[in-house]
């Protein structure tokens, strides 16, 4: 009969596993990294900036944020709660209002000829604006465009924008482009 191999004691296995567990608890974090995704415009040297690029006033949705975190939307005081509705109305312009942006016909796959808005959202903030407010405003503007895209996607394809395939997403994006431009910061209001 072969000699019996002595059994390895398993009593300390728990301690070893506990040590590993505690190591991972200490060195890792639970939070998933998520945030507002944006794209910055290309850098243009100051001397090449052409100032004469004019956009019609009705095509621009001006949002100003001053150093006291107050909002000025299209020349009047506004609350952040109403910003999303205002931005949606501006980008969609459902009744072809004279004061809201123009539209131009455009061939879009899946949709045929659609009237696409020429609207641009312009966001300008002060040097002393709080970052939290800035993100809140950005969030509302992005939300407005996302909501419009979702509504259109549901109408046309019967499912939300995020579940569409690449081509369909591109088509929806062409109708509601994400045109949020940020001006160079300067002092706005206050003193």
């Amino acid at each position: 009969m072969a000699r019996k191999v002595p059994e390895i004691p398993a009593a300390s296995l728990a301690d070893i596993a506990f040590m590993l567990l505690i190591f991972f608890l200490v060195t890792t974090t639970m939070d998933v990294d998520s945030g507002l995704e944006r794209r910055l415009p290309q850098w243009v040297p100051p001397e090449q900036l052409d100032e004469d690029q004019q956009i019609k006033e009705r095509n621009v949705f001006v949002v100003l944020v001053n150093r006291n975190n107050d909002l000025l939307v299209e020349g009047e005081y506004a609350n952040i709660e109403n910003l999303r509705e205002r931005a949606k109305e501006f980008m969609a312009n459902p009744y072809n209002d004279e004061t809201l942006p123009e539209k131009e016909p455009k061939q879009v796959p899946y949709f045929g000829e659609m009237m696409v808005t020429k609207g641009v959202i312009s966001l300008r903030n002060d040097m002393d604006t709080q970052y939290g407010t800035y993100i809140a405003v950005q969030n509302e503007l992005v939300a407005a465009i996302n909501e419009l895209r979702n509504e259109l996607a549901r109408e046309q394809f019967g499912k939300p924008y995020s579940e569409l395939n690449m081509d369909q997403q591109n088509a929806v994006r062409e109708i509601y482009p994400s045109r949020i431009s940020e001006a160079e910061p300067k002092k706005v209001g206050g003193n």
Binding site: I16, L21, G35, L36, R38, L40, T129, Q130, Y134
Partner: protein, 156 residues
């Protein structure tokens, strides 16, 4: 002689600990899967702003981080209380950002470089002046794809 009288001297059998390692390993695997490694030690205090329109950072290897906030109490003696930029494990100036981005770019494979994302982790009480400066530097170094790190807020 009562039927229910305890018999003296009989001890409670010890609880078997044979399954303890298995339980601990289960916990260990849970934490290994559901958490991520810390990238750096924070030297600044950051309370992220809330937002609703979030997108997740899919590939960690493509992300470079820029932290902005008030220095932690132990650094306030040397660095003051004004919001500072932290790159990797040290405080930095706005002028260092271009070098940092170039270094980050160099450390990635050629084919990954176009997909790189810069994640800005900025305290919500920071003034926009410093953030705008950072954004200008990022534009100069052609790191245009950015992500304003923020936490999920419940929809109103």
């Amino acid at each position: 002689m009562s039927k229910f009288r305890k018999k003296g001297g009989k001890e409670l059998p010890p609880i078997s600990t044979a399954s303890l390692p298995d339980i601990v390993f289960m916990l260990l695997f849970f934490f290994m899967v559901s958490t991520t490694m810390r990238e750096v030690t924070y030297m600044v205090h950051i309370k992220l702003p809330d937002a609703t329109e979030l997108s997740k950072l899919e590939k960690k290897s493509l992300v470079s981080y820029i932290y902005v906030g008030e220095p932690l109490p132990q650094y306030q003696k040397t660095f003051g209380v004004a919001p500072r930029i932290q790159l990797n494990d040290q405080f930095a100036n706005v002028a260092d950002i271009q070098d940092y981005i170039i270094a980050e770019r160099e450390s990635r494979a050629e084919e990954e470089r176009p997909h790189m994302i810069t994640s800005l982790k900025v305290d919500e009480n920071t003034k926009m002046g410093i953030v705008t400066d950072i954004k200008q530097e990022l534009r100069k170094s052609a790191a245009l794809h950015i992500n304003y790190s923020s936490r999920q807020r419940a929809e109103r």
